[in-house]
């Protein structure tokens, strides 16, 4: 087994997902089969190879100040599920 039940729960918690016991079992089996498949990569010698993160990296893509105004702020706020005035409301955050 590449991944244990507690690892599944840990990863779900990190991603803020709740799983019931049946789901833990099912996801564990599915994730396990995928992770086992990924062992294929150990066949490849990647010594000294720089990872590729951007297909065609360019440097210094900038926005210059004063270029253009903001767009769509008010409409964006219309999407808020729970608002008081212009503030988003959430259950109390405990520090």
């Amino acid at each position: 087994m590449k991944i244990t039940d507690s690892q599944v729960l840990h990863v779900a918690a990190l991603a803020r997902l709740k799983l019931d016991p049946e789901e833990v079992k099912r996801f564990r089996a599915e994730l396990n089969s995928v992770l086992e498949y990924m062992d294929l990569l150990s066949e490849v010698d990647t010594d000294g190879i720089e990872p590729l993160h951007h297909p065609f990296p360019a440097g210094n893509v900038f926005r210059h100040e004063g270029a253009e105004p903001c767009r769509g702020a008010r409409e964006a706020l219309e999407n808020a599920p729970h608002r008081e005035g212009d503030l988003f409301v959430v259950p109390k955050v405990i520090e």
Partner: protein, 473 residues
């Protein structure tokens, strides 16, 4: 699409009438291609286009009715990504591609169905139910842009936009017998495309023909200052007359014709390649050893990026928020657990796992290194060929529930399409035959970066001497 443009000008058909016709056909659609139709918006745009055409506009796109995949933002219409969590989300701005199409007078009919957050190969994981394949309603149209593919194939729109992260334009194009292009990474702006995997996603055209796809591509491509990954390189102009294939070197990779490839698909694709040969192309066998690892690399990199891109869905600023929650943690857990489907959850967890402490080196970094090696493979190959040809998918459209319960075997169907996303190279899918049950088969062509002119040119020339793309379901 070009036919529509011709009808407007030569036959005096009015855009309003044409668009009304499409809207009416959509109401009778049994494939569940559309998830939202913007009747008023479409007719309004049709009226505007009418004025443009009467005013003498030569623009091919004026008044042409298009469909847009529901993970691309159209202002004022919900962009649900076929997810419950975004069922209430209405974008405040158009995606850049939509802005550009509107400027050209195109008409947006509505939004098409997809797999939830574009994660899937069947257009069935979403919250609006599955889209059916117009060729056989017991089968999948492929995914994740299955709604757009079915809409084009059924004549419910003249063209459509899809998105492709691991094959999501090309696979449904193949299954539905239409033409689909995944542009070079950076050729088309991602601003307004709801992100799945940021270094892999591209928006692309899906249309009845390569010529139409070229017109659509030309309208949406180009640098966008709102997308830092969009390319500033100038694009070679597209030639709608096609490409002179004499002397064009076509590489056929061994790895695209190995185990797992359906016999009928192999036959049709081989026929397609020999058609190109008859047009003058030189075919040679090549090897791309890293193709073997593509699926593994993809499902590490794509899910890693996706797990991060989907972290913003928490019900705080937009989207569906779970009701009756206790504390903040509850808000997150309930909103996300109720809001996401299983495939999305699976990929988020996989992505979180491969990035997590202790595993990042073994998975994410390793996969990114293999990705670099794959890019080298293709660089080498394009040193000796101008195009690479092969099948788009190993199989034809399968039954709606055939692959349920076995995610890995579904993932493996992306084997031919994934390399183009990992390397950023452009790839086109054109119909090249039919299987025994009359199901379409697609051939995939790949080209060097920003050489969509070669792809579309070859596609146009191929379609000028074949009829597969003209057959309707």
């Amino acid at each position: 699409m070009l036919e529509t443009a011709r009808r407007y000008r030569k036959n005096g058909v009015s855009p309003v009438r044409e668009v009304s016709g499409f809207l009416e056909r959509i109401t009778r659609d049994t494939c569940n291609a559309f998830v939202a139709v913007d009747r008023d918006g479409a007719l309004g745009a049709a009226e505007e286009a009418q004025k443009l055409i009467e005013g003498g506009s030569e623009d091919h796109l004026a008044g042409v009715p298009l469909a847009v995949k529901d993970n691309i933002c159209v202002r004022g219409i919900p962009a649900t990504c076929a997810s419950k969590i975004l069922s209430t989300f209405v974008p405040a701005c158009d995606a850049t591609v939509v802005e550009r199409l509107r400027k050209r007078g195109a008409v947006i009919l509505g939004k098409t169905n997809l797999d939830e957050f574009a994660m899937g190969s069947t257009t069935s994981t979403g919250a609006f139910g599955p889209t059916l394949n117009p060729w056989d309603p017991t089968r999948t149209p492929g995914g994740s842009s299955g709604g757009s593919a079915a809409a084009v194939a059924s004549g419910l729109c003249a063209g459509a936009l899809g998105s492709d992260t691991g094959g999501s334009i090309r696979m449904p194009a193949s299954f539905c017998g239409i033409t689909g292009l995944k542009p070079t990474y950076g050729a088309v702006s991602r601003f307004g495309l709801v992100a799945f995997a940021s270094s892999l996603d591209q928006i692309g055209p899906m249309a009845p023909s390569a010529r139409d796809a070229a017109v659509l591509f030309e309208a949406i491509r180009g640098h966008d200052p709102r997308d830092s990954t969009s390319a500033t390189a100038a694009h070679p102009p597209l030639n709608l007359d096609g490409l002179d294939l004499r002397g064009v070197r076509i590489g056929v990779p061994d790895e695209f014709f190995g185990e797992g490839l359906d016999h009928e698909v192999e036959r049709s694709v081989t026929f397609g390649i020999s058609t190109l040969e008859n047009l003058g192309a030189q075919v040679k066998r090549i090897s791309l050893p890293m193709v073997r690892y593509g699926v593994a690399v993809y499902y590490i990199v794509a899910t890693a990026e996706a797990s991060s891109n989907l972290a913003r869905y928490d019900g705080v600023r937009y989207g569906k928020r779970a009701q009756g929650v206790g504390d903040l943690l509850d808000l997150y857990l309930e909103t996300r657990t109720q809001g996401f489907g299983d495939e999305v959850k699976r990929r988020i967890m996989l992505g979180t796992y491969v990035l997590s402490a202790g595993y990042r080196e073994a998975y994410y970094r390793k996969a990114s290194q293999v990705r670099a090696l794959m890019a080298r493979d293709f660089e080498r190959a394009f040193g000796e060929c101008d195009l690479i040809a092969g099948p788009a998918t190993p199989v034809t459209a399968f039954g709606l529930n055939e692959m349920a319960g076995d995610p890995l075997s579904l993932y493996l169907l992306d084997i031919y399409t994934i390399p183009a996303n990992l390397t950023g190279l452009p790839a086109l899918c054109v119909p090249c035959g039919f299987g025994g049950e009359g199901l379409p088969i697609g051939m995939q062509l790949m080209a060097p970066a920003f050489r969509e002119d070669l792809l579309l040119g070859a596609g146009i020339s191929f379609q000028d001497c074949t009829r597969f793309h003209r057959v309707k379901p």
